[in-house]
Each structure stands twice: as structure tokens, then as C-alpha cells.
């Protein structure tokens, strides 16, 4: 009896070994993803520690509502909602080609604590039409003023995200952009945001203030 117990113990120990040694991959045939943006290489992979758990703000489940409502799956008609793999594809193809930008819609304080690699900080409040710099920002995004309105034909495609599904900052940024006339087909919405990104153990980038 004792021997049998011992044998099964040894067996289960061996059986679990390969599991802990297995890689935490992004997809079945992708362990890491390396993307070159503006001459700099960024590498996205996942935390390999199978026991790792989030702590701090992004481990929280519940926030007072209002203002932290659960956001709908779609930010606005015509704006495509995307997930993590699409964010990586977006970086590798469109952002790398210079035709698109990945934008963190949160306030600089949050962006400074870490964000998705390759993203730029464009706080939602700066896109409000009441901001006197809003037009400069639209121009920086590639819009051109034409006859009292805006021409967005050479404007960049934008993918926007916030803290997570409970954070409406990226939806607000999208509403402001649509209000200015930005075409919906040039906007993408990563609803999961920083929380979903971290929940999957994906590489987190702390901006270096440069």
C-alpha cells in the first residue's frame, strides 16, 4: 500500500514537471514578438512564472460606479474593437509603416507608471474641442485644415486604449475625435486596455521620459 502510494506520488511529480517547464507563449507558434518601430526594437513576451499574480491597482475588481461604468463592446458605430493580438499586428504592420499610432488615452500620471510598448500618450482631455491646442493635435495626427473644416484623408489610423473595460477615457477620446470629423474607419478601440494586457502577463513598458 505504502509502495503504491509512493509510486503514484513519484508519477504525479514527474507528470507535473513538464507543465512548469513549458513556455508561456503568446500563441501556439509564437513565444515572443519583436517589432521595430522608428529604428528601435521592442520585444513583447509574457511573464514566464506560472504562479505570477497581479497586485496593486490592476488586481482590483471593483470600483465605484459612477464614474467607472462597464463600457460597451463597441465605442461607436464604425469603430472596430480589437484585442491583444490585433494590437501587436497593428504595431508590426501599420505603426511600423508610419501610417498609424497606438495611443494611450489616460492622463500622463498613469501613462508614466507604465503602458503598452510602442504607445504614445494622448490624454482624452486634450482632444476636447474646448482645448485651445486641439487643432494643433489634429494637425500632428495628420489632419489638414481645408475651407473651415478638416481633411482627414492623410490622417493616421489610431488605436486607442485606457485602463480597462471599466475606464471610459479611450471611448471619450474616440467621441472627441469623431466629433472633430475623424473618420470612424480610421479608429480602433482596444477595450481591454492596460488591465487586460497585464492580466495576460504581457510586457509592460515604463516610459523613460524621453
Amino acid at each position: 500500500m505504502l509502495r503504491r502510494f509512493g509510486l503514484s506520488f513519484v508519477f504525479t511529480s514527474i507528470a507535473t514537471l513538464p507543465v512548469t517547464a513549458q513556455d508561456v507563449r503568446i500563441t501556439q507558434d509564437m513565444l515572443t514578438r519583436s517589432i521595430t518601430l522608428n529604428g528601435a526594437e521592442i520585444v513583447i513576451d509574457r511573464i514566464q512564472d506560472g504562479e505570477h499574480q497581479l497586485s496593486g491597482d490592476f488586481a482590483r475588481t471593483s470600483r465605484a460606479c459612477p464614474p467607472f461604468f462597464i463600457t460597451p463592446m463597441t465605442a461607436a458605430p464604425g469603430v472596430t474593437t480589437i484585442g491583444e493580438l490585433e494590437v501587436m499586428d497593428f504595431l508590426e504592420t501599420q505603426v511600423a509603416a508610419g501610417t498609424a499610432l497606438l495611443l494611450d488615452s489616460r492622463l500622463p500620471e498613469f501613462f508614466g507608471k507604465g503602458s503598452i510598448p510602442g504607445s504614445l500618450n494622448l490624454p482624452f482631455a486634450t482632444l476636447d474641442s474646448a482645448n485651445p491646442y486641439r487643432d494643433d493635435i489634429l494637425i500632428a495626427l495628420g489632419a489638414t485644415a481645408s475651407g473651415g473644416g478638416w481633411d482627414f484623408s492623410s490622417a493616421k489610423t489610431l488605436a486607442l486604449f485606457g485602463n480597462g473595460a471599466w475606464c471610459d477615457q479611450s471611448s471619450r477620446a474616440i467621441q472627441h475625435l469623431l466629433g472633430a470629423g475623424y473618420p470612424a474607419e480610421k479608429l480602433l478601440y482596444y477595450r481591454g486596455g492596460v488591465q487586460s494586457w497585464l492580466q495576460l502577463g504581457l510586457t509592460h513598458h515604463i516610459p523613460t521620459g524621453g
Binding site: 492622463l107 490624454p123 491646442y133 493635435i137 500632428a140 485644415a145
Partner: protein
């Protein structure tokens, strides 16, 4: 039983505290808002029609504190005029002091400004877009100034180019008679160049002259002063801002305070009476 009583008492106490501590609306500022609306809708004309006369060498005055600024107005200072002035100066090879807007406005406005400027910086770094693009208006002024042309020549030049649609002129620089306010363009360039060269700015004169009206209203034991200005021929919103604030780029303060009367910064009418908020 005793426990229930204690709980009920605690609940009552907390509720009472919450009721007592809830923020009360600011009656004082509400009263001000009301007064501004009532007084400024008085459209009686002053009779005097001012000439748009303030010399380049005479930067103009900041009025004494009067009306509380209306709430929720846009941050003061506008990039359009400043950008134009700075663009012309750099076209002439003069390094402007700083492109930052004046240190006015509330903390929230300052935060928004910082946020916008750093976001712009980040975007431009990635997109490789230059910080400022020379507009056709700037190019024209730079060329004319380089050639040593007179103010009246530049005025004719700009008006012709504007009527042909060759240049876009900031709307605050369109006068009540539909012309380009060359005077304000040139004086803000001179003022900025003076600042850039490190020379002290000329002392501010007291506000006054044709079209300016200061009215003191007695209300509930305190007297509040209001400034009004009657638009004359040749006035632009930029010129009026320069007259009262010493800076044409602050026209937005006046525009916002007169939104009920002005559909756009270039829609001034001669004889219109504008309230001038204190900033």
C-alpha cells in the same frame, strides 16, 4: 434591543453629518454671473465712436480688477496669433523668448496646456512633423518686412492677398469693416521682438480713450466695476484685446464673454457694445 438602538442612533448621526457637510452652491459667484448678464445686455450706445488708434510703441494697459471672469470659459491665450507672431519672428531670424503662453489661467488650464504640449511633442517626435509650419501669411509678412516696406504697403498687400484667398488670416484679426488688421499684426511682432531682445516693455498706460466705458454698480453694499467697449470702425477683436490686456492673443477672453452677441471672432459690428472681462 440595546444594540438596535445604538445602530439606529449611529445611522441617524451619520445621515445628519452628511446632510450638514454637503457642499452648498457658491451663491456669491452665482450673483456675479447674474449681474454680468443683466448689465451687459444694456445696449445703449455711448455715442462716441473710437478710432483704432494705439501706437506700436505704446503697449496697452491692463484694467483694474472688475468683473469676475465667467465660469467654464476656454483657457485664455490662443495659439493662433502667438504662433503667427513667433513664425514671423523666426522667419526674420529673431529667436522669440518662448512659445509658451503666458502664465495665466487656473491650475486646470495650466495642466491641460502642459498635457497638450507634451502630447504634441511626443506625436511630432514620432511623425517627424516640424514644430511649426510657416503659413503663407507669415511668409508674406516676412518678405515685406525684409524688403523694408512701409506699414501701409503691407496693409494693402495683406488685404489684397486675403481677398484673393491666398492667405488665411486669424479671425480675430478681421476688423469691423472686414479688413485685415495689419496694425495689430505688426505691433504684436514689434512687442515680441522687443521682449526677445531683452529690452524692458514700455510702461502701461491707464485704459481709456474713445469707446471705453467704466461703470460702477452698487449691489448689496459692495461696488463692482465693469468695463465696456464700443466697437469703432477699424477695430478687430485682436486690437481690443491688445488695448485692454496688452496682448492681442488674449482676444478669446473677450470673445467668450460676448458669445451672445458675437457668432464668430470676425463678426464685429461698428457700434456694438462689448463687456470686457477682467483677467
Amino acid at each position: 434591543m440595546f444594540r438596535t438602538l445604538v445602530l439606529a442612533a449611529a445611522f441617524f448621526g451619520i445621515t445628519l453629518a452628511l446632510i450638514l457637510l454637503q457642499p452648498t452652491p457658491d451663491l456669491h459667484s452665482a450673483e456675479h454671473e447674474h449681474t454680468v448678464t443683466r448689465t451687459s445686455t444694456d445696449t445703449s450706445l455711448n455715442g462716441t465712436i473710437p478710432a483704432a488708434s494705439f501706437a506700436t510703441s505704446q503697449p496697452v494697459p491692463t484694467p483694474t480688477p472688475t468683473v469676475a471672469a465667467p465660469a467654464n470659459r476656454r483657457p485664455s491665450g490662443d495659439t493662433e496669433l502667438r504662433a503667427m507672431t513667433h513664425g514671423v519672428l523666426s522667419g526674420l531670424g529673431i529667436a522669440p523668448a518662448s512659445l509658451d503662453v503666458a502664465d495665466d489661467g487656473t491650475e486646470a488650464e495650466a495642466a491641460l496646456r502642459d498635457m497638450s504640449l507634451s502630447a504634441l511633442d511626443g506625436l511630432r517626435k514620432v511623425t517627424g512633423q516640424p514644430a511649426s509650419v510657416e503659413t503663407p501669411l507669415q511668409r508674406l509678412i516676412v518678405q515685406a518686412l525684409r524688403a523694408g516696406q512701409t506699414d501701409s504697403y503691407i496693409d494693402t498687400l495683406l488685404n489684397e492677398a486675403a481677398s484673393m484667398g491666398e492667405i488665411a488670416v486669424p479671425r480675430a484679426l478681421i476688423t469691423a469693416d472686414g479688413r485685415v488688421d495689419t496694425h495689430v499684426i505688426l505691433s504684436s511682432i514689434v512687442a515680441q521682438a522687443t521682449k526677445a531682445s531683452g529690452q524692458p516693455e514700455a510702461a502701461l498706460a491707464a485704459p481709456g480713450g474713445a469707446g471705453v466705458e467704466v461703470r460702477t454698480v452698487q449691489r448689496a453694499g459692495e461696488s463692482v466695476q465693469y468695463n465696456f467697449y464700443t466697437v469703432g470702425p477699424g477695430d478687430s477683436l485682436g486690437a481690443i484685446a491688445a488695448k485692454f490686456y496688452g496682448d492681442a492673443a488674449r482676444y478669446n477672453n473677450i470673445f467668450e464673454a460676448n458669445r451672445t452677441r458675437l457668432s464668430s471672432p470676425d463678426k464685429l459690428r461698428v457700434g456694438q457694445r462689448l463687456v470686457i472681462p477682467t483677467i
